[in-house]
């Protein structure tokens, strides 16, 4: 039996909007993945440590408070500092168009905005884990 894809869904920073993160966590689980949900108010370091400890294939970050430009790149930076380069990082939330290329440059593989279909997100993580 193929190893299940493992994904960490995380809420960095102070943002309390967890509707999207929870819906995504459930959709990935229903698609047969192992999902670890961190809960709210995680620092980038909390997230990186959880990802390494849980040996995940990918991290999905969710932020709707506008702090994504600080928090998302910090997660990638800390992963690299720990010598991890095989965990894919994606993000979602209320993210202005202008910020998307900057986030991608900082190592965020995909950015999902409002209205993204669950199917698209599931496909992304399936693809990411099969890299």
């Amino acid at each position: 039996m193929a190893k299940k894809i493992r994904v960490l869904i995380a809420k960095p920073g102070l943002d309390g909007h967890d509707r999207g993160a929870k819906v995504i966590a459930r959709a990935l689980r229903d698609a047969g993945m192992e999902v670890i949900y961190t809960g709210l108010r995680q620092t980038p370091m909390d997230i990186v440590e959880a990802a390494i400890q849980e040996d995940v294939d990918a991290i999905g970050l969710s932020c709707l408070s506008g702090a994504h430009m600080t928090l998302f790149p910090e997660v990638v930076k800390l992963l690299r500092q720990k010598g991890v380069d095989d965990i894919v990082v994606a993000g979602g939330g209320i993210i202005p168009e202008d910020d998307i290329p900057k986030l991608k440059k900082a190592g965020i593989k995909a950015v999902f905005g409002p209205g993204t279909s669950l199917e698209e997100v599931v496909k992304f993580f399936e693809h990411a884990a099969g890299k």
Binding site: G16, E97, G115
Partner: protein
């Protein structure tokens, strides 16, 4: 009447077997089931048979009279329009002060403050926890000095101010009071609202600091303080808005909000407060989502349930204690990033539902909010939408225009019955706090959110521009950026305050607060004294964190 009902039943049966059956043979309906935004099935037709005998006398009645189904005031908008109150906050106190003045100039009639994330969690702008969060989704207020700048040049003795602040509500309120004091405006003249609804934070909005019990104590402290010293202030806005935004159905929003309201009243009565002394200052806040009739029915049911609970269960004598007065905000979660201009239409219809439902105050969302805190043009259009509702549509001409509609009355009754079923389930847990600790509300909300998303995914539900009527054209609203200078300005003010304040007075005020919090007394006077001594929001909340501890939620999805 009984004979008429039988006659009508026969007539309906005949219609179904002849007119309807023949028509449907040729032209079947497009779907098997027609459902509301909350997935409630709606029937093809409603008739007088859906209204039980005696319904008007017992359940509908006249506006300004128990059970207030038709509105809390006898003349509603013929007497006075709802307050047009736009939720605003961005960057520094200066930035937001400018936005307030812009909105007042364009005709808004009440203020509403959105605070940034660090402020909502009781952290100062220069705290480590605040990194990257300054001013992004609200204004940063760390001190009395910031509060002074926020309302500079605005007559807070006249205009009413609503503040969306919860875990640190008593501290921010103390800053508002402290600022009024410095400007020589007596507390008795101040009008406004602090949201201060901590229960829905644990259930939905998730901006808590302390565990539930000490948090409830802080809320009741404000009830007690306000009823004595700030008599025109609403010390709570019991909020369904965030419960709905987190994914709840209309019924869940209604039921959880009103059950939370009952919980606050129970705690206040347990403290020894007299119900008619504090209940008139309880206010409510609901969401207005896409489904026009479902929303209207929800607002009408809410008024009726609250009036009954206050009069029958809590034996309140004053009609003002029976009134459910509420603010409404259109549903942020319904805004689409795709073809964002279509949001102007969604907001107008949601605003219409709020007005037809008898709201006292309204915020209309801006069309660019799936991207950012709104730019000036977007927020002006949102305000204009309310002005069009008020002055052009004619909906203000008569009170509760949909009262007596077979469908609306039947849906209102349905909402009420379903809410009471939830009350029973929550009571079985032993009330709201045990149900929060077991994750009951959180799981109910997450289940509904997932079902809604799955319906969109499976195209059982159409969202225009998202899963149907899609275009390739990308339309991005004009971006709004918070300037670095705002951040630096805010840091400078905070640092200068820390340097210039009277150290002894400051230290003593925090020690006093620590003692009061560790004991049983009302915390409000000590918090106000700390604010007067220029203690910051972060410093005050640190003291309370030390005494009360913090909260971690049960993890579930």
């Amino acid at each position: 009447m009984g004979e008429n009902r039988e006659e009508l039943q026969r007539r309906l049966k005949r219609w179904e077997e002849t007119v309807l059956a023949e028509y449907m043979k040729e032209r079947p309906e497009s779907r098997k089931e027609f459902i509301t935004t909350s997935s409630v099935p709606i029937r093809r037709l409603y008739t007088p048979l859906d209204i039980p005998p005696g319904h008007f006398d017992q359940k509908v009645g006249l506006p300004g009279e128990y059970p207030y189904t038709r509105g809390v005031h006898p003349t509603m908008y013929r007497g006075r329009l709802w307050t047009m109150r736009m939720f605003s906050g961005l960057g520094s106190a200066e930035d937001t002060n400018r936005r307030f003045k812009y909105l007042i100039k364009h005709g808004e009639t009440g203020l509403s403050v959105a605070f940034d994330m660090p402020t909502l969690y009781g952290y100062d702008t220069d705290d480590d926890e605040a990194k990257g969060e300054f001013g992004t989704c609200g204004v940063a207020v760390s001190s009395l000095a910031d509060m002074g700048v926020l309302f500079d040049g605005i007559d807070i003795g006249e205009i009413s101010t609503s503040m969306t602040i919860n875990a640190p509500a008593s501290v921010i309120w103390a800053m508002y009071l402290g600022n009024a004091e410095r400007r020589g405006i007596p507390f008795s003249r101040l009008r406004g609202t602090i949201q201060n609804d901590i229960l829905k934070e644990y259930q939905a909005q998730k901006e808590w600091i302390y565990p539930p019990e000490p948090s409830m104590r802080l809320v009741i402290d404000t009830f007690e303080y306000g009823s004595k010293l700030v008599p025109q202030w609403n010390t709570i806005s019991i909020s369904g808005y965030h419960i709905r935004e987190a994914g709840a159905t209309a019924v869940q929003e209604l039921a959880f909000t009103l059950r939370n309201g009952i919980e606050y009243v129970e705690w206040a009565v347990d403290r020894g407060l007299k119900v008619d002394e504090f209940a008139p200052r309880l206010s409510f806040f609901f969401n207005s989502h896409n489904d026009l009739f479902e929303e209207i029915a929800k607002f009408r049911a809410a008024r009726r349930i609250w009036a009954r609970e206050m009069r029958e269960t809590f034996k309140a004598k004053s009609p003002r204690s029976w009134w459910l007065r509420f603010h409404t905000q259109t549903a942020g979660v319904s805004l689409t990033a795709q073809q964002p201009e279509t949001n102007i239409v969604r907001v107008a219809l949601q605003g219409l539902a709020a007005v037809l439902g008898g709201t006292q105050s309204l915020h209309t969302n801006s069309y660019d909010e799936a991207y950012q805190v709104p730019n000036e043009k977007a927020v002006r259009i949102a305000l204009r939408t309310q002005q069009i509702l008020a002055h052009e549509t004619g909906v203000v001409n008569t009170v509760d225009p949909l009262g007596g509609s077979y469908f609306i009355e039947s849906l209102t009754d349905f909402m009420e019955e379903e809410a009471y079923k939830y009350f029973e389930r929550i009571d079985k847990f032993g009330g709201c706090l045990p149900a929060i600790k077991k994750g009951f509300f959180q799981q109910e909300i997450a289940n509904s959110a997932y079902r809604y998303q799955t319906e969109i995914e499976n195209k059982e539900r159409t969202i225009v521009g998202v899963n149907d009527y899609v275009t390739d054209e990308v339309s991005v609203p004009e971006p709004l950026k918070i300037s670095k200078a705002s951040f630096e300005n805010q840091l400078k003010r905070l640092q200068s305050l820390r340097r210039s304040r009277d150290r002894q007075k400051h230290k003593k005020s925090l020690e006093k607060l620590h003692d009061v919090a560790a004991g049983k007394g009302n915390t409000m006077p000590a918090i106000l004294d700390a604010v007067r001594a220029h203690a910051t929001l972060g410093e005050i909340c640190s003291v309370l964190r030390e005494v009360f501890g913090t909260w971690k939620e049960p993890l579930l999805y």
